[in-house]
Symmetry: D2
Subunit: 148 residues, 4 copies
């Protein structure tokens, strides 16, 4: 885990704001669900595009951190996030499922798909997560990617 | 504005959840600010990557809708969002400034930059917004991009 | 097909420069192959990252044009292309396979994966293709996305 | 420079295939030009979208390698490339100009803009380049991002 000056309980952090709930029963993918509510929508009543990017970032980054920290105490931090909005959701829930495309020494690449309650594909995100050594945490010197 | 079954007041929608405040005094760019608070951070106390994507989506989409609706009553909806995370923010505020790179008949492309209180570049997003005719609103048939 | 002042035979166009060969036998995906040669590599002898973006653009755009033109004489043109480079290829061939994630009225979204001769995933591209009516061809007024 | 089994002269590599010519006179940006010819176009006679991604990849990666190798003998390799196609070019030349948005210890982020002979913005690319230590070259173990 990165060295931090501050640790925020998950339910008080942005995941809590989103109402993100991970599903521990999915064997091969990382699954999570968010219930639609007004506070996650745009003014026209459909889920805000940024909500998909946000969930994808959490799914990909948290899972990478968990895996690389368990393995050899490295950490990870989001690098790039490319989101395609395909079909709006205005009620029910959005169901995210993430799978790793590439697990490298210095970066991991994820696909995170979003479906509505009818299982229709509504958005898809490709997230690249940078891997950091335990001795070079992202928060140490105020930089995601420590300057040279 | 798109035909909608439901209109949510801005402060009760996702922009309100983020605490997004637009700065109407910027002449050539669309500027907005969000104060950092625990509920927008990851558990390590830095602003969650999805917050940048979300603000960028709002800045680009709201501004495009406003402009094309004023001009000829068309609407707009987010299509793709590419976010690069460069430097974390753990306190103060994140200041967004958006500028249009391309204003076409069927799509607009935006750059949205994020700086901390010391004006350091912390993230940058490229957002493509699809333009829709007033008669083909995004919410009408349940699709961002109406199926053929 | 778009109205054009000039039609270039495929083998004299960029697909010919790349040596791109489509495989008509794949039933559910669009498959194509390019043999590695020095003229497609960077100076270090590995396939240039732009080659993957280029093949993906051809696979996604050509297939979309073919489908929408057959259906109702619309056309299509590339909008955004997001490429992730995962593992270099220095010999043999790169095998592309593309599948449609979303086929909308105004845009199509594709995933194109690249594998080496050992079937290892080496790159992956997400391509968004904009659909155009036959009466508003991309080349007509000098714009991919006709200005307002 | 990465350890390689093979070094290809630049004019015989993909840059030569594209006809990419760097302009050494630009002080603050990395500038390059490619003359339009049939072999770089799609069958409709406009510059193929992949050509922009390819030039951007070369501009960003070559410049990063040059800088980090001069500084401390590290190397660099392309990670992600996000290209937005805005306006087609069918004759003359495409003029690329690249500027660094972020120069970190482990990644650099670039913007590369493309203009036609009339200086109109025709495409724009955001490229993330991963920095590698001299002792972990990209070609050493057959991986862009060396597997764990």
């Amino acid at each position: 885990m990165p060295r931090v000056s501050k640790a925020i309980p998950l339910h008080e952090a942005f995941d809590g704001t989103l109402g993100l709930v991970f599903d521990p029963t999915a064997p091969d993918e990382v699954c999570a669900v968010v219930e639609v509510r007004d506070g996650l929508c745009n003014p026209f009543g459909i889920v805000h595009g940024g909500v998909y990017s946000s969930i994808a970032e959490s799914v990909a980054t948290a899972s990478t951190i968990y895996r690389v920290h368990s393995d050899d105490r490295r950490s990870a931090i989001g690098s790039t996030n490319h989101t395609s909005l395909l079909r709006p959701i205005s009620e029910g829930a959005t169901h995210a499922s993430g799978r790793v495309l590439h697990a490298g020494r210095t970066s991991w690449t994820w696909d995170v798909e979003f479906r509505d309650n009818e299982r229709r594909l509504c958005a898809t995100c490709r997230v690249t997560v940078a891997i950091r050594g335990y001795t070079s945490p992202p928060a140490a010197d105020g930089s995601h990617d420590e300057p040279a």
